[in-house]
């Protein structure tokens, strides 16, 4: 404040008029205008997120504590819906199937994706062509994938997959039609569609591995297995962390495949949380219980994401400390 009092008279009058300063704008109003512009540009996205993501989420959480009765008004029931979700036979087996499917598909597609990536890594043109062909399942609509696999899984000896496993003296299997094989058959489709996607991301990760480490490993006489174990896998760790999160979330929310392949059957052997929630909510109008089921899934998703983030942060910190 003291400095401002000293030579105020000279400066404004002596300075030549600056270009662009014709309007006297204080920094405050300029900032305010900038902020308003920013918020205006953000408005469409925020409104859509609010209406189609956050309001449904809040409404879902609210519903999960109520007995939802359209036109009659909701009745508060506390945690009754959750108790039902976590004790009901059907829900427990659906949770069980969801976890098996999520774990199986995640591990299966990352493992297969890794093998494919190792085999198809490289810049040669024919490899690029093969990679494109292999990637097709990942971009084709799930609805088409499921119809194709329903045909491939045709449960008689002249079905395509039965024909192929017949060459090796196995089968014929009922695949989707028997409670013993249905969940595995669905899982196989999930792995088949997920592996190419994982492959692409792992290949991108492989491209970033320091080549001189391979040369050094060679000079030291490392076998291919040692080279994979000590050079390639550690370098891919962050890639695997991301794939793990993405794939696990994909596995938890699985709906379309099941809905189209088996719709939970036969005999409930492939019922997962989302198909059960869908049936309860939209076919039997038990909206409160359905909402509680969704919230359980939501919480599982969030815990999973946060856990992987923490694990990643820790392994990064460990790496930096070395």
């Amino acid at each position: 404040m003291t400095t401002a009092a000293a030579p105020p008279a000279h400066q404004p009058s002596q300075a030549p008029p600056r270009i662009g300063a014709s309007r006297p704008t204080s920094r405050f109003t300029r900032n305010l205008r900038g902020h308003t512009v920013a918020w205006l540009f953000l408005t469409p996205a925020l409104v859509l997120f609010l209406v189609f993501k956050f309001i449904p989420m809040i409404r879902g959480i609210e519903m999960s504590f109520h007995d939802v009765r359209p036109y009659l008004g909701d009745r508060w029931v506390g945690v009754d819906n959750y108790v039902r979700v976590l004790t009901d036979e059907a829900f427990l087996s659906a949770i069980n199937h969801t976890v098996i499917l999520a774990v199986g598909q995640t591990v299966g597609s990352i493992a297969l994706g890794f093998v494919l990536a190792l085999l198809l890594e490289g810049t040669v043109r024919h490899l690029w062509f093969i990679r494109t062909a292999v990637f097709l399942p990942a971009i084709v609509t799930m609805a088409v994938i499921t119809e194709v696999w329903r045909i491939l899984y045709y449960p008689s000896a002249d079905g395509v997959v039965n024909g192929i496993i017949g060459w090796f003296g196995a089968g014929p299997s009922q695949f989707l039609n028997s409670p013993d094989t249905s969940l595995m058959s669905v899982m196989a489709v999930g792995i088949w569609r997920g592996a190419p996607y994982d492959m692409m991301i792992i290949i991108a990760g492989l491209a970033g591995v320091d080549r001189t480490l391979y040369e050094a490993a060679d000079v030291d006489g490392a076998t291919t297995r040692q080279r994979l174990w000590h050079v390639t896998l550690p370098a891919l760790r962050p890639v695997f962390a991301i794939l793990l999160t993405l794939a696990a979330i994909r596995g938890l929310r699985v709906f379309t495949e099941i809905f189209l392949l088996t719709n939970g059957g036969p005999n409930g052997s492939t019922e997962v949380l989302m198909t059960l929630v869908y049936k309860l909510g939209l076919e039997r109008s038990e909206l409160g219980v359905a909402a509680a089921g969704s919230v359980v899934l939501l919480v599982a998703t969030v815990i999973l994401t946060v856990a992987v983030q923490v694990w990643r942060a820790r392994s990064v910190a460990k790496g930096a400390g070395r």
Binding site: A45, F49, L118, G122, L136, M142, V148, V160, W192, P196
Partner: protein, 291 residues
């Protein structure tokens, strides 16, 4: 173990396996891989132009060429479903691109209080899979807050919810950050306003990123299943993926009509991918590896 000569340009040192034996092994492995992953989809293309006798029939070799499957599929309103799909994907994509570039502009080119919160909100929407929100979302769609319209039974209900997508906003914002601020400042001195700068300076430089979000948005909307399922009230609002389920058992032509419709349902995204592969893979790794 060590052959004394292992190529260092790939993890397996594979491309240097010497001699014809290694080459033959590789050929077999590659054929097997392509057969397993692309085979079923090639079989759909082949089957859609073959006379397919029964629901177990899929083959890689065309038999008895015919276009009957397509006429059978058209008789079952496949063109209407295709049109619905195009309306939904066209409208959804246009909205999504507009919303993304506008939000990205604010996030990448402006500094304002609350920015971190907005970023956090956008990230959190990416953790909210639409399936999990399905039940309350269907209630919201039947009575949209404030405006109180019912979107159930109208294609608009399938378009608006896909308008905002965290992924495309973030990809776009990342790209916009790279554009030098000096360009913008120069324009500002010349008296250009924000809208002008956004439209004639920032956007033209974002063309590559526009390509990326367009492909990803297209695939994402084309693959939507739960949302159309919630919104469609009768067959006249079905998108093509929804309609496939009703085409399963066609007495007249066996699996033929289903395969013809399946071909139409997979072709757009496959063609899109083949045409813009490079950008697609770049976007995939940008979203996946950097994260």
């Amino acid at each position: 173990m060590n052959r004394g000569y292992t190529r260092a340009d790939s993890a397996l040192g594979f491309s240097a396996l010497p001699g014809t034996a290694g080459r033959a092994v590789r050929l077999v492995v590659y054929t097997l891989i392509v057969f397993v992953f692309a085979g079923p989809l090639v079989a759909v293309m082949v089957g859609s132009v073959s006379r397919v006798p029964d629901p177990s029939g899929l083959s890689l070799i065309p038999t008895d060429f015919t276009l009957e499957n397509f006429s059978a599929a058209i008789e079952r309103d496949v063109l209407l479903y295709l049109l619905n799909s195009f309306v939904v994907v066209g409208g959804g994509l246009a909205l999504q691109i507009l919303v993304s570039i506008s939000a990205a502009y604010a996030l990448a080119r402006k500094k304002f209080p609350g920015m971190r919160l907005v970023l956090l909100l956008i990230l959190s929407t990416m953790m909210l899979p639409e399936e999990i929100l399905a039940i309350p979302l269907s209630l919201v769609l039947s009575d949209v807050p404030v405006v109180h319209v019912n979107l159930i039974g109208s294609l608009v209900g399938m378009i608006v919810p896909v308008g905002a997508w965290g992924f495309s906003i973030l990809v776009m914002a990342e790209f916009m950050k790279e554009i030098p601020m000096e360009l913008e400042e120069a324009a500002r001195i010349d008296g250009a306003g924000d809208l002008r700068i956004f439209w004639s300076i920032v956007l033209p430089l974002c063309k590559p990123a526009l390509g990326v979000i367009a492909i990803f948005g297209f695939t994402m909307i084309w693959d939507q299943y739960m949302l159309p399922l919630l919104v469609a009230q009768d067959a006249s609002q079905f998108t093509l993926p929804l309609a496939l389920r009703t085409l399963r058992h066609d007495e007249q032509v066996g699996t033929g009509a289903l395969l013809a419709a399946a071909l139409l349902a997979m072709l757009p995204s496959v063609l899109m991918f083949l045409a813009m592969q490079r950008q697609f893979v770049k976007g995939l790794t940008a979203g996946g590896v950097k994260g």
